[in-house]
């Protein structure tokens, strides 16, 4: 697009001679004048001398005129209509109030555009005016859009936007003469820390001035949680540190509590006393997750009346709690081969951190020592330390043939702690023997509540028997020692005969995996191995002390067997809820979303033999953890890979749990759950600050000017003049080819000759 055309002219030489030849001629003519002047030095009459030199000069000029062949060249020209860009910040911070009690910053820009509209119209005589929004991608925007479509950009990158704008400057009519930038300056990209030397240099090299218009009032009342620092994952039973900055503006002298919650459960509160008008305080929390999985944690500060932004009073994050090594506490009632092979297995497993305590002697044992302290390597049984102070640091507690009544060895006073440990997510294993399951020994009735079996009050049944893998055992991951149920069944059948079992009955809800085929308790086969969930924890009972034969005796004929290793590996993974050992898995995808974004979940269903469950019907519920209300239910059918994906509509800010269940025909494939956070804020809304300094520095670096709202009219902001270019053909009109110029030359030379003769020079 161009401006109005016009005509321009200029003098040019039309001589065909090259420039150097013309220069020689000029020199020759000048020398001719010079020689004439030199020859008249002796002339006493000034008048004569002047007349003769004047005539020679006129003749020389006429000669030059004829030689240079001057002409007039006429040109048709036009002034290019360059661009002026009006940039409007469309990131989320522009949705914040422009000032106390005012409308949004975007609305303030819309008002301003209305007022400067005539001025922009006037500019269109000389420029193409483009009004563009950035979020940060550039797109046309109008006053109406600013009023109706909320600003939603997630990142303010002023330098990036100007770079992108410069990329559209391809010269000619696309050349930029200047930019008028409407923004709050809340940059959260390269200029977040302020104007750097490098950024300033880059801005200066843009090639066009950028004038800024500050949107929003820099004085406001706001409580904001900013710069949250926490890892994406943590190890269970290891302390996790969370740091956040509490920025309080306009509330001097107030106390502001900051609360850390996990899905509605308060983990800690820190009170901050604010003294200044704009004060930032580092707040730290430390907590110890006690369960693996993914959880939504929320930090919050109260909302005060008149706050500019209420959404930044809360910050949510998703923490994945994983296991480092499985920390196992092995408490052994007496050394035995059962203990020896379990210890050997656990010690060689790199994923297990084993802490063990064995009762090597009791008060009735006679060690034949005069000074037991010096002669024995024994240490006191540190019951208080392991069952009280450090109990929660263990993932699994194994009692192996443990049931001492000796006051020095009895754990009666820690029963409740242990039961609570399981109920709160710990794992317990009880292994049989002559001291276990109340077999004529002390029983621990409170701790027994956590176990899946009840002792029947009779002595152990001693005598050889073959283990029987129950139907549940053929499907359960703990006893699935081989890929298929049939193969697992065969592997269990090949084990050496057992020598005895503690007599127990399975509690309602317990799953019996192994039983005694020839021994009935309450009319059912006596359980040899059973497990269940107690509260949030899990427990397993193994009613025999000869499981060591599965590790050792089984090799007597040279047949390889990994059953013992696989069984205990499976058991530990099941006990600690290894996610890979569940037949149904659900994961929020992604684990945290911005407001307005759909919540997705991916479900993987497997059969009991861990093959993908194709065609399984999956139901996924999304519930708010605060009020436990189900906010959405989605159903899907798994594909051949056993996977399905569901999506829920965008949800309000908060923490949610995703619960999935699946069925394959009439058979339930299990349940699983995960957490998802609809995050209160991205980086945009954490800080309501208006960056006056940054906008000023940006304008200065580019040669623009800095303004602030309100604008009553378009300011006279710096713009580069558009260049002028030829738009038509030139036409030459010779000036030299007239007889008058030749006549002048002849007349001047002739008159000079006549006068020279008269004055006696010829």
């Amino acid at each position: 697009m161009t401006g109005t055309d016009s005509t321009a002219w200029k003098l040019v030489s039309l001589s065909p001679l090259p420039g150097w030849a013309l220069a020689l001629l000029v020199v020759a003519v000048a020398m001719g004048v010079g020689l004439a002047a030199a020859g008249l030095r002796a002339e006493p009459s000034l008048g004569r001398r002047s007349v003769l030199i004047g005539l020679r000069t006129v003749a020389a000029a006429a000669a030059l005129f004829l030689l240079l062949e001057p002409g007039v060249r006429t040109l048709q020209v036009a002034r290019v209509k360059n661009r002026v860009a009006v940039l409007v910040d469309r990131t989320a911070s522009m949705g914040l109030p422009a000032g106390p009690g005012a409308g949004t910053r975007s609305a303030a820009v819309a008002d301003a555009l209305g007022r400067i509209g005539p001025g922009l119209k006037a500019l269109e005589d000389r420029f193409s005016v483009e009004v563009l929004g950035f979020e940060p991608a550039l797109a046309p925007v109008s006053e109406e859009i600013l009023r109706t479509a909320p600003a939603a950009g997630t990142r303010t990158d002023l330098l990036g936007v100007l770079r992108a704008l410069r990329a559209t400057d391809t010269g000619g009519s696309r050349k930029l003469s200047g930019v008028l930038l409407f923004s709050d300056g809340a940059d959260n990209a390269e200029l977040q820390a302020g104007m750097s030397t490098r950024a300033s240099a880059e801005l200066a090299g843009l090639g066009f001035p950028v004038s800024t218009v500050q949107v929003g009032d820099s004085s406001l009342l706001d409580v904001a949680l900013e710069n949250l620092k926490v890892d994406d994952f943590a190890f269970v039973r290891n302390a996790v540190a969370v740091e956040v900055e509490l920025r309080v503006r306009g509330l001097p002298g107030r106390d502001v509590p900051v609360v850390l919650e996990r899905e509605g459960q308060v983990l800690g509160t820190k009170n901050v006393h604010v003294t200044g008008a704009d004060e930032t305080t580092q707040v730290s929390f430390t907590f110890t997750p006690d369960q693996t999985g993914r959880f939504v944690y929320t930090l919050s500060a109260p909302v005060f009346p008149g706050e500019a932004v209420t959404e930044n009073n809360t910050r949510s994050f998703v923490l994945k709690v994983i296991r480092d090594r499985v920390r196992v506490l092995l408490v052994v009632g007496r050394p035995s081969w059962d203990e020896r092979f379990l210890r050997g297995l656990l010690r060689q497993d790199a994923n297990v951190d084993l802490v063990s305590f064995y009762i090597l002697r009791t008060s009735s044992d006679d060690t034949q020592t005069r000074n037991p302290e010096r002669e024995l390597s024994l240490i006191p049984f540190p019951m208080e330390e392991i069952f009280d102070a450090k109990l929660s640091t263990f993932d699994v507690v194994i009692f192996q043939n443990f049931g001492h009544s000796d006051p020095q060895l009895s754990i009666a006073q820690y029963e409740r702690k242990l039961e609570q440990y399981v109920a709160n997510g710990g794992a317990l294993v009880a292994i049989g023997g002559d001291r276990a399951f109340g077999d004529g020994r002390t029983s621990y009735p409170i701790l027994d509540r956590a176990l899946p079996v009840d002792a029947v009050g009779q002595s152990a049944s001693v005598g050889p028997y073959r283990l029987h893998l129950t139907a549940e055992g053929q499907r359960h991951p703990v006893t699935s020692v081989l890929p298929t149920g049939t193969a697992s069944l065969a592997a269990w059948d090949e084990l050496p005969a057992g020598s005895g079992v503690n007599l127990v009955r399975a509690k309602p809800g317990a799953t019996v995996l192994l039983d005694h085929p020839g021994l009935l308790v309450d009319g059912k086969p006596a359980p040899v191995m059973a497990l269940w969930e107690h509260g949030r924890g899990r427990a397993m009972a193994l009613m025999t002390d000869d499981s060591w034969t599965w590790a050792f005796t089984v090799h007597r004929n040279g047949d390889p067997s990994r059953l013992y290793d696989r069984f205990w590996g499976n058991a530990l993974r099941w006990l600690v809820r290894d996610p890979d050992l569940t037949t149904l898995q659900v994961s929020a995808d992604p684990p945290s979303v911005e407001p307005g974004t759909p919540v997705g979940a991916a479900v993987t269903a497997r059969e009991a033999d861990y093959q993908p469950a194709a065609g399984a019907e999956v139901t996924v519920e999304l519930s708010n953890v605060r009020d436990r209300r189900v906010v959405g239910t989605a159903r899907a059918t798994t594909g051949a890979d056993g996977m399905a994906r569901v999506s829920f509509p965008p949800q309000p800010v908060g923490a949610y749990r995703v619960r999935a269940s699946a069925r394959s025909g009439e058979r339930a494939l299990g349940e699983a759950e995960d957490a998802v956070a609809v995050r209160t804020l991205g980086p945009e809304l954490t800080d309501a600050t208006v960056r006056t300094d940054l906008l000023g520095a940006l304008a200065r670096a580019t040669g623009g000017k800095a303004y602030r709202l309100p604008l009553q009219a378009l300011p006279d902001f710096p713009l580069l003049d558009p260049p002028v270019v030829e738009v038509g053909r030139s036409r030459d009109r010779p000036l030299w080819d007239r007889w008058e110029w030749l006549g002048l030359l002849v007349t001047a030379l002739g008159l000079e000759w006549v006068l020279r003769r008269r004055f006696g020079y010829v």
Partner: protein, 256 residues
């Protein structure tokens, strides 16, 4: 130089009948584990030589183990051929006097598998030999049995010297070799070998008296030999339990 501790001497020597009566009174004081297999049974390996010279010593060791520790035992020495039956008993005593013929390949294979999967062998030169007799034969067989795990001296810092009693050495009926030899499999001492006739110090005769003089330390040395036997059994049962970090500070303090 051999150093000896001087613990309290053992009780007066009972007659065999008295011992049997005591055993019947003492051992049942505890509930029984599920059959013999779950208890400590001192199995004695039968080989082509004079393998049964110390059966009473093994009985005595089991008795002492029951008396002094919480371990449940079968207080009898159970002779077994080197066949698959061994896999019912993870502890085997392999002793003898004088040379014995080479083990059959099947016996070697069984024994190799036994040790590989967690079995334990306590070897004991009842003749106190060194380079001859039982020692030469046993070393010959060990070279065939575990060529990649040769016998090597066990340092006094090994856990076997603190698995129950705190010991510095391993005397037996004799005290010509203060340290034990061991063949290690994966860091575990699968075979412990004494040239001091450990079981000779434990053995009783038909009359219930100790069967052999203990030299040069007398009854104090006998007590140490019993303690060594107890520690070896504890090591077979508990492996490196006493090397756990929780024990180390206290044990170091006791050893000072």
């Amino acid at each position: 130089m051999v150093s000896l501790q001087h613990p309290m001497p053992g009780p007066a020597l009972p007659r065999r009948a008295l011992l049997a009566a005591l055993s019947s009174l003492l051992l049942p004081r505890r509930a029984q584990a599920f059959g013999d297999g779950s208890r400590f049974v001192p199995v004695v390996a039968q080989h082509g030589g004079h393998w049964n010279a110390r059966l009473s010593g093994l009985r005595r060791l089991a008795w002492e183990l029951q008396r002094r520790t919480s371990v449940e035992v079968v207080a009898e020495a159970r002779p077994l051929a080197l066949n698959a039956r061994l896999f019912d008993f993870p502890f085997v005593y392999f002793g003898g006097e004088g040379d014995f013929p080479p083990l059959a390949p099947a016996e070697l294979e069984t024994l190799r598998r036994y040790l590989t999967y967690g079995g334990f062998v306590l070897a004991d030169a009842n003749d106190g030999s060194s380079g001859t007799g039982f020692d030469a034969a046993f070393r010959r067989e060990m070279a065939r049995l575990l060529p990649a795990s040769p016998l090597q001296p066990l340092p006094s810092t090994h856990v076997v010297f603190k698995s129950f009693y705190l010991l510095d050495s391993a005397p037996g009926r004799l005290f010509t070799h203060p340290q034990l030899q061991a063949a290690l499999i994966g860091g575990r001492a699968a075979v412990l070998y004494s040239q001091n006739d450990l079981a000779g110090a434990w053995a009783r005769d038909e009359g219930g008296d100790y069967a052999f003089e203990v030299v040069p330390g007398g009854e104090a040395q006998r007590e140490l030999a019993v303690r060594t036997g107890i520690n070896i059994c504890m090591y077979a049962l508990c492996l490196d339990y006493k090397d756990d970090a929780v024990h180390l500070p206290l044990i170091l303090k006791k050893r000072r």
